[in-house]
């Protein structure tokens, strides 16, 4: 199902010109305190293009980050720019933004079409334009067949998709999704993840937050990790892992005779340590994961051992988060 994100039926006033070289979202040393509590401290981020996952534990500052970005709350210090404009007390940049709030509550009494049409009109569209646009976005999230049903009758997954559709109605440059997968069953989850991926593929800037790390892994590799109000890391998740050099990378090989295999591997320059975690596995520690992986297949094949599994036990988001936050799960 290909998206139809053409400008068909758009209000003329809604045309936007992309500003060159300005990040879509820019946080410059932004802090937010509630009383004694630092919700966000000194966050500096510039984001544009592609899907970015915002990760962090409960209370890490993800919601505060989004609220600041959407002008819901005022930063205690620092500057926020959305398309180069300050969003606090200024709704102008929102004509280029689509926001999917975390809250479960929706207007249950409206039909999906009505809901999106009404809120499309707040973008300055006329009634007719709005309903054309609403139909288009509902089609994009595959809800066009049920758009005349009341939202109250929808399942959670469908409600999330209505929320996403409503955020897409103005053909936004930036799409912000706060916990879009929460409470959805796997079917709806997969569908929504596909929608998000498609949006990213279309060149929009998409920000997604989630608690569930492997879901983010399935959508994107570009992540921002927030912890206790600070940005811990930003960029490609694998690259981030590579940069964490103080932790030796681990490669786990499953084989019948690990000691035999170890003899072949121990000669490689990159290996910093070998251990036998169980009788049928060999754990390699290295500080140069890429190099190691490049050479490894050949070494294994040459050694004549049968390796039935290769794993990097600490090269996933969970480990990154664990290492960065100093916690463990």
């Amino acid at each position: 199902m290909m998206p139809d994100m053409t400008q068909h039926g758009k209000a003329e006033t809604q045309q936007w010109q992309p500003v060159e070289n300005t990040p879509v979202v820019m946080f410059d040393r932004v802090s937010k305190t509630y009383g004694r509590i630092n919700a966000l401290s000194g966050v500096s981020i510039g984001l544009s293009g592609g899907v970015t996952g915002i990760l962090g534990m409960n209370g890490a500052g993800k919601s505060t980050f989004f609220k600041l970005m959407m002008g819901k709350i005022k930063p205690s210090s620092g500057a926020i720019r959305l398309f180069g404009t300050d969003p606090w007390k200024n709704p102008a940049p929102y004509s280029r933004v689509g926001f999917v709030p975390e809250h479960e509550k929706m207007y249950d009494w409206m039909t999906a079409l009505d809901f999106i049409t009404t809120f499309a009109r707040l973008h300055g569209m006329t009634r007719d334009e709005a309903s054309i646009e609403a139909t288009r976005v509902l089609k994009f999230v595959s809800l066009d067949e049920v758009m005349h049903k009341r939202i109250g009758q929808f399942s959670k997954g469908m409600r999330q998709r209505v929320k996403i559709a409503h955020a897409l109605v103005n053909d936004p440059e930036l799409i912000v999704l706060d916990e879009p997968l929460q409470g959805c069953d796997p079917l709806a989850r997969t569908t929504i993840m596909n929608v998000i991926k498609e949006l990213g593929a279309m060149g929009r800037t998409v920000l997604v937050s989630s608690h569930i790390l492997h879901e983010i892994e399935r959508i994107t590799e570009q992540i921002v990790i927030l912890h206790r109000g600070r940005v811990l890391a930003l960029g490609n998740s694998h690259a981030i892992r590579e940069m964490l050099d103080q932790h030796p990378h681990k490669i786990l090989l499953d084989c019948n005779q690990p000691r035999e295999l170890a003899k072949a591997i121990v000669d490689m320059d990159e290996v910093t340590g070998l251990s036998f975690s169980n009788p049928a596995a060999l754990l390699i520690e290295t500080r140069h994961l890429g190099e190691m992986h490049k050479k490894l297949p050949k070494v294994i094949v040459d050694s004549g051992q049968i390796v039935t599994g290769i794993d990097n036990p600490d090269d996933d988001l969970q480990s990154i988060l664990m290492y960065l936050t100093g916690g463990s799960a």
Binding site: I37, R230, K250, S277, A281, P313, S328
Partner: protein
């Protein structure tokens, strides 16, 4: 094997780590207790405890069974009643908000002005003033049913504050699930909520009435003949207090059961009590007809009480109409309450 570790610092590998790899789990069991339950509130200065355990478990969790017997139904109901009523005076039970507690305290004190005045003038020996404030038929009636300020500013507002969140808060917080997923049926739930509100109102209205009456007996040294004379009157007034608390409670709880918020029931109760009263007053003033007072809960109860206590009737229509009206109003309210409570959800959908 544990140490204190500041959470902001980057993770440092423990020297003991390689040992832990000797066991069957590939991933280390570095654990953090505080981090698991760190709340959104206190973050800055909190420290984390790091414990290292080979199995990867957070800490030794041991399930502790309990082999007691559970008490029967009436004990469960008693728990609900205690929860609500004791919440007014002590912590650890239903958290009534501070304005409500303060207001109840204020009304209890203010309601005893008549007792205090009677005491004062009785002690001084000023018989004229004592006759104004002392126990008699009209003063008894006035203690329970007096309109200003008791039944415009005090009792209805206590009722409104009490019923405000009584059922609607269970709806909003989802705590109704806590009741109905336990062996408590809806009848018991509604009945205990009703009793709780009714009991607090009863303590305020009839408690102060009793103080008023018995202070007079004890301090003024009234004889048995006086007591025998006035006791039926006191009992009639006491009954009136019960009817009044019952009526306010049933209307208020019915409103509380239909809404989600705390404020609709409170405003609704005040609007019903004051709105019907002022409507009837307009009609009485314009056309000299008192019959519309039967729709005003306060006036209907007041009329019945005038008949019961035997004070002068201030309404023209027969008091039986008011009695019927009281019965009908309470019936309707209780029906609504029962109906709505039976539709409370266990899972919030």
């Amino acid at each position: 094997m544990s140490e204190i570790k500041s959470p902001g610092e980057p993770f440092e590998p423990e020297p003991t780590k390689n040992e832990t790899f000797g066991s069957e789990t590939p991933v280390t069991g570095q654990t953090k207790m505080q981090a698991a339950w760190s709340s959104d509130v206190e973050n800055a200065e909190s420290t984390a405890q790091v414990a290292s355990m080979p199995t990867g478990q957070i800490f030794q969790q041991i399930y502790q069974p309990w082999n007691g017997t559970l008490n029967p139904r009436w004990m469960r109901n008693w728990a609900i009643l205690r929860h609500h009523v004791l919440g007014i005076v002590s912590k650890g039970h239903r958290p009534w908000n501070v304005p409500t507690k303060l207001f109840i305290f204020f009304v209890v004190i203010a309601s005893m002005t008549d007792a205090a005045m009677a005491l004062l003038f009785g002690m001084i020996g000023d018989t004229t003033l004592y006759d104004i404030w002392g126990v008699n038929r009209d003063n008894m009636y006035g203690h329970v049913m007096g309109f200003f300020p008791r039944n415009i500013l005090w009792y209805p507002i206590i009722a409104a504050l009490l019923v405000g969140g009584m059922i609607s808060e269970d709806r909003a917080n989802g705590t109704s699930a806590m009741y109905f997923s336990r062996p408590i049926n809806r009848f018991d739930y509604a009945a205990m909520k009703f009793l709780s509100v009714g009991l607090i109102l009863f303590f305020v209205i009839n408690g102060t009435l009793a103080v008023y009456y018995f202070v007079d007996i004890l301090v003024m040294g009234k004889g048995w003949s006086w007591i025998i004379d006035t006791f039926p009157m006191f009992m009639a007034t006491f009954l009136c207090g019960i009817i009044l608390s019952f009526t306010y409670t049933s209307i208020g709880l019915a409103l509380s059961s239909v809404s989600r918020g705390r404020f609709f029931p409170a405003i609704g109760l005040i609007a019903i009590l004051m709105g019907t009263k002022s409507m009837a007053a307009i009609i009485d003033g314009l056309f000299d007809k008192s019959v519309l007072y039967v729709i005003s809960p306060y006036d209907a109860v007041a009329h019945v009480c005038q008949a019961l206590i035997g004070t002068e009737m201030t309404y023209d229509h027969p008091w039986v109409w008011s009695l019927i009206s009281v019965v009908v109003m309470n019936g309707l309210a209780l029906y609504l309450l029962a109906n709505r409570v039976s539709s409370l959800e266990v899972t919030r959908e």
